[in-house]
């Protein structure tokens, strides 16, 4: 188990184009780090440089305090999990987990110790003497994980491991990976293009765009304090709404009426002209269902609803709005980059499932103005980001992680605890 540090990592291919550009990232020992971004953002290239599959053009890759730029993949002692795993029909589950140790001629009692420990954590103990043909899909994947565990690798690496599984197994495996990572307390780097996976799995998430790091933070910080339009638009589903806005004193004029800003945010946007205001779907509500106590914290506006979507436990309303051409083009460009369906000039608004707001009618909405962010449409910068509040969110996530790992270690659930204590 080890930390992974990247210092000014650059990857240029033959054409000179930097697929990864000056990336510096510290992954703490035992941390679960997600690399996320749309295709072509450099996340897989970065992972491959950690593994040793891609040469590093410049910069330092440091694993467990040791520079590994020139080390062959096997000498880095990392484990790519699930990649093309195979189960061997004549071998028991025990042997299917043990074989990497057999191949390295590990003594029998050591093999037994490690396989037993791994199978405890993986809850495969009951199945050790069975043949793999009798295992469920999830159990098979756990056998693959067991192989990685018995190797006592410095870190686990996952490259879009769930992208080819069906939805049900995908959800199941996501929970399983998360649970195991906690119990094992092993440094993990996980590449995905799926923001939901990123948000549910990672201690911290590194959002990449065109080879550059945009933001590295806990999922909560990314969601509540994104650094720019790209991160704000990428994280969250349904996505954040972006409306054109102009500044008038301490308020923003928007297609959904004026939004009053607090002192801090008003100061941040003073003197600006055309801006984009970012409002998450859940900051809206059907005005008739808002508590009197909450009502003064936001603003009211009337708008015609195009479509409503009732999902039983939740409901969405789609509200079209007008935007200047420059803004429309900007948003179209952003959605293209995010590989998403075109962000049309209509807001997606979350309303209570009991709301009687109907399609094609005008209705009154309430908008919680406390959490909106304001972006510069040209640079994409979030002008109203509260860095301190964001740092606090990430700090909380770090504390949670440390606590969970300690709990797991205290209850003796981790694997190779002695080995690790010795290494630490």
């Amino acid at each position: 188990m080890a930390s992974i540090e990247m210092r000014n990592i650059v990857k240029k291919y033959g054409d000179g184009f930097p697929a990864v550009n000056d990336v510096s990232l510290d992954i703490a020992d035992g941390e679960f780090m997600i690399l996320v971004g749309p295709s072509g953002c450099g996340k897989s290239t970065l992972l491959r440089m950690i593994v040793g599959l891609e040469d590093i053009t410049s910069g330092d890759m440091i694993i467990g305090g040791k520079r590994v730029n020139d080390l062959a993949p096997r000498d880095r002692n990392l484990s790519m999990v699930f990649q093309n795993y195979a189960l061997y029909p004549h071998m028991t589950v025990y042997e299917n987990i043990a074989f990497p140790l057999r191949l390295s001629k590990t003594p029998d009692d050591e093999v037994r110790r490690r396989v037993t420990e791994a199978s405890d954590v993986l809850e495969l103990k009951e199945h050790l003497e069975r043949k793999p043909a009798n295992l469920s899909g999830g159990q098979r994947q756990r056998v693959a994980m067991g192989r990685a565990i018995v190797r006592q690798a410095e870190a686990f690496l996952f490259d879009e491991p769930l992208s080819n599984l069906d939805a049900k197994l995908r959800g199941q495996m996501r929970t399983e990976i998360s649970r195991l990572q906690r119990r094992l307390g092993i440094t993990t780097v996980y590449v995905t293009h799926d923001q939901t996976e990123a948000m549910t799995l990672g201690d911290r998430v590194c959002v990449l765009r065109k080879g550059l790091i945009q933001q590295v933070a806990s999922p909560r910080e990314l969601y509540e304090q994104p650094v720019n339009l790209f991160v704000a638009g990428f994280i969250g589903s349904p996505p954040m709404n972006f409306l054109p806005a102009t500044v008038e004193g301490d308020r923003l004029q928007t297609p959904f009426g004026p939004i009053v800003l607090d002192e801090r945010r008003a100061a941040a946007v003073r003197g600006r002209e055309l801006l984009l205001v970012g409002i998450r779907p859940e900051y809206f509500e059907d005005a008739s269902l808002v508590d009197d106590a909450k009502r003064p914290l936001g603003s009211l506006f009337r708008a015609r609803v195009d479509v409503t979507e009732w999902l039983g436990d939740s409901q969405y309303a789609y509200i079209p709005y007008e935007a200047p051409e420059a803004i429309t083009n900007q948003l179209r460009e952003l959605s293209r980059e995010l590989d998403s369906e075109e962000l049309r000039t209509q807001a997606i608004v979350s309303i209570d499932a009991t709301s009687r707001i109907r399609e094609g009618r005008e209705a009154e909405f309430w908008l919680d103005s406390r959490k909106v962010h304001v972006f510069d449409p040209h640079s994409g910068d979030n002008l109203t980001r509260d860095a301190e509040a964001g740092a606090r969110l990430t700090q909380m996530a770090t504390e949670d992680r440390v606590e969970q790992v300690q709990d797991a270690q205290a209850s003796g659930q981790t694997v190779g605890g002695a080995h690790r204590a010795g290494a630490a």
């Binding site: 040793g52 891609e54 040469d55 993949p73 061997y88």
Partner: protein, 410 residues
């Protein structure tokens, strides 16, 4: 549903009537063909026969299917030894995975069969060398396999030696050239997979006692490195040994089964520096020549053997008639009078055990063997008869190529 087929796909047209909307696992056994001795697969794989041809159907995620379809198509065009892809079926109802259709590699054998044969004439080392040649060939072409294993390889006899073919390109990646890290990773993975596959055979009681899985697996990386070095190294030598060293090098590459694309020789006062660009495609000179003269499509070593026989046949014709015989005429008559009679005489119950060209090669071997013993040339007809009586029946029934089971393709 949508079908994407790679021309010429007329031979696959009959496949369209199959129940593509149903999960492969639920297909009526009547439609399927039992193919023994297969490797291990993570996916559902089934075999079907259509108009005398056999196809392998694999159910996988659409992105993987499209990726593999494109790659296998490229490999085939470039002459890389791989299975031939026919097409994919996508957009199946209820969000089912896609199906990738490949042509069954006729007369191929899996490692499971080759290693577990009671009286295996071919050693584990030989098979491993064959696998290593395949891996080096792929690496030269910028292909990262990502899943090199015995299960993902099929072996074919080629005039008594083996040739290996890539069967599964699901995890493969194409790069302009591979980094050392990519090659090493591929080799490490291959070592581990081969070791595990042999251990598995051992657990199943299918591995001859003389084969040590770990030893065999451990010998893969050094074999690979040696061949990679042989194929890629630059040599420096003095001008006076230039000619001899160059011929020597080219001969060695040929013997290893590689063709040479380009030779670059840079001379300086210190000596000559030789750089050889090794071709990735299978050598095909003899194959093309035999096809031109006879229309037969066989593998390279088989072709060399058959061409030698054809040339000897032509000399005989010329001696008998006392005048020159054009090679095309000799080719035609050899096919009619020497090759076809042997192939036609294969007893019906033994058809499909070995490829016809391999049978002919073995008959020639047998003829040499009998003639040595008898002290005179016994002739091809007698040799063939003896071979069909005593040697061919010893080839196990389970290697019979599936298309021979379903009926002749032409």
């Amino acid at each position: 549903m949508r079908y994407l087929f790679r021309p010429p796909a007329t031979d696959g047209a009959g496949l369209l009537t199959l129940p593509w909307h149903v999960p492969l696992e639920e297909w009526d056994p009547e439609l399927l063909l039992e193919v023994p001795q297969r490797g291990i697969s993570r996916h559902v794989v089934r075999f079907v026969a259509q108009d005398g041809h056999v196809y392998a159907l694999k159910e996988i995620a659409e992105t993987l299917a499209r990726h593999e379809y494109a790659l296998l198509g490229e490999f085939e065009e470039e002459g890389l030894p791989s299975v031939s892809v026919l097409g994919i079926c996508v957009d199946r109802p209820h969000g089912q995975d896609a199906i990738l259709v490949t042509r069954y590699l006729e007369y191929s054998m899996s490692y499971r069969y080759l290693f577990s044969r009671p009286h295996g004439e071919q050693s584990a080392e030989q098979l491993l060398d064959t696998l290593v040649v395949l891996l080096v060939r792929l690496h030269l072409a910028g292909v990262f396999w990502g899943d090199c294993s015995l299960s993902n390889t099929l072996f074919r006899l080629d005039a008594g030696t083996f040739a290996a073919y890539l069967v599964d390109a699901e995890t493969a990646e194409r790069h302009p050239r591979l980094s050392d890290g990519q090659r090493r990773y591929d080799v490490d993975l291959a070592r581990e997979r081969v070791g595990a596959e042999l251990l598995d055979l051992q657990f199943g009681g299918l591995l001859p006692s003389g084969v040590d899985p770990i030893e065999v697996a451990d010998s893969l990386p050094p074999r690979y490195e040696a061949l990679w070095e042989e194929v890629n190294r630059e040599e420096v030598f003095s001008p006076d040994e230039q000619r001899y060293r160059m011929t020597d090098r080219l001969q060695r590459l040929n013997d290893l089964g590689f063709d040479v694309g380009e030779v670059e020789l840079v001379t300086s006062p210190e000596g000559a520096r030789l750089r050889v660009e090794t071709r990735v495609a299978e050598p095909g000179e003899n194959r093309r020549e035999l096809f031109r003269l006879t229309g037969l499509e066989v593998q390279e070593r088989q072709a060399r053997r058959l061409l030698n026989d054809l040339r000897a046949f032509r000399v005989q014709l010329e001696q008998k008639s006392g005048r020159p015989v054009p090679e095309t005429v000799a080719g035609y008559r050899w096919l009619e009078e020497a090759y076809q009679p042997v192939v036609d005489a294969i007893p019906p119950d033994l058809v499909g055990r070995l490829a016809p060209a391999e049978v002919f090669h073995e008959v020639l071997e047998h003829r040499w063997f009998l003639s040595e013993k008898a002290g005179r040339d016994v002739g091809t007809t007698a040799a063939a008869r003896a071979y069909f009586d005593t040697v061919l029946p010893r080839t196990p029934k389970e290697v019979t190529t599936p298309s021979a089971i379903v009926g002749p393709s032409r």
